[in-house]
Amino acid sequence: MIKVLFFGPVADRVGLRQIEVPFRDGLCWQDVRDVLQPQYPEAFALVSVTAVNGERVRDEGRMPLADGAEIVFMSRFSGG
């Protein structure tokens, strides 16, 4: 399974803090986004940062995920 986490305003709009998506070979984070975005359009309208396994994704390059990977779709940060 792929664990998808939500925080802050994105979590509020999704109504959940965690979702699990079935794993399959070759699955990339963009595929997970493409599955979830139509289900939670208001939440994904806020998303501007994505992290995979705690590391910020800086380009659209397609890197297959490992089973058990953690993805976080995040809005702009507002700490401090």
């Binding site: 925080f7 802050g8 305003p9 809005s75 702009r76 940060f77 507002s78 700490g79």
Partner: protein
């Protein structure tokens, strides 16, 4: 001694953080600090409390990277960053940053750089709680 980079629910002591910074080197000639506090107003509304949410493992890792980069970039002798999570009341402390260097200029520049970078890079979100409702803060440039 407490870690130089922390995310915590409880308040912190500026004096203890500065003491810990000073204890790391006697070559320190300048220490600059930044204290971020919870305001009791925002955009014309009273604010009673501020709630913080964070992607904690990444937030801590980013803060640690940020500190290491600041030490390298500004030739600091040491630096400390503490950010509170959970809910704080108006007037409470939120974040403390301290930079120690041989001279004042790099300490001041590093302190400013660290808080600016923190706001851009560290996955923490702030929610203002007012008498009439709650709203997530939209980051300012």
């Amino acid at each position: 001694m407490s870690d130089a980079v922390r995310l915590q629910l409880e308040d912190f002591s500026q004096d203890e953080e500065v003491c810990a910074l000073r204890a790391s080197s006697q070559r320190m000639g300048g220490i600059a600090t930044f204290l971020g506090c919870a305001r009791d107003f925002s955009e014309g509304r009273d604010v009673c409390e501020i709630g913080f949410d964070a992607y904690r493992p990444m937030a801590l890792a980013e803060l640690q990277k940020l500190r290491a980069e600041a030490i390298e970039r500004f030739a600091l002798l040491d630096a400390r960053i503490v950010h509170r999570l959970g809910t704080v009341r108006a007037g409470d402390n939120i974040v403390f940053i301290a930079a120690g260097a041989e001279h004042r200029a790099p300490a001041l520049e590093a302190c400013r750089w660290m808080i600016d970078e923190l706001k851009e890079r560290v996955p923490i979100w702030k929610k203002e709680i007012t008498p009439t409702g709650e709203s997530w803060v939209t980051p300012h440039p």
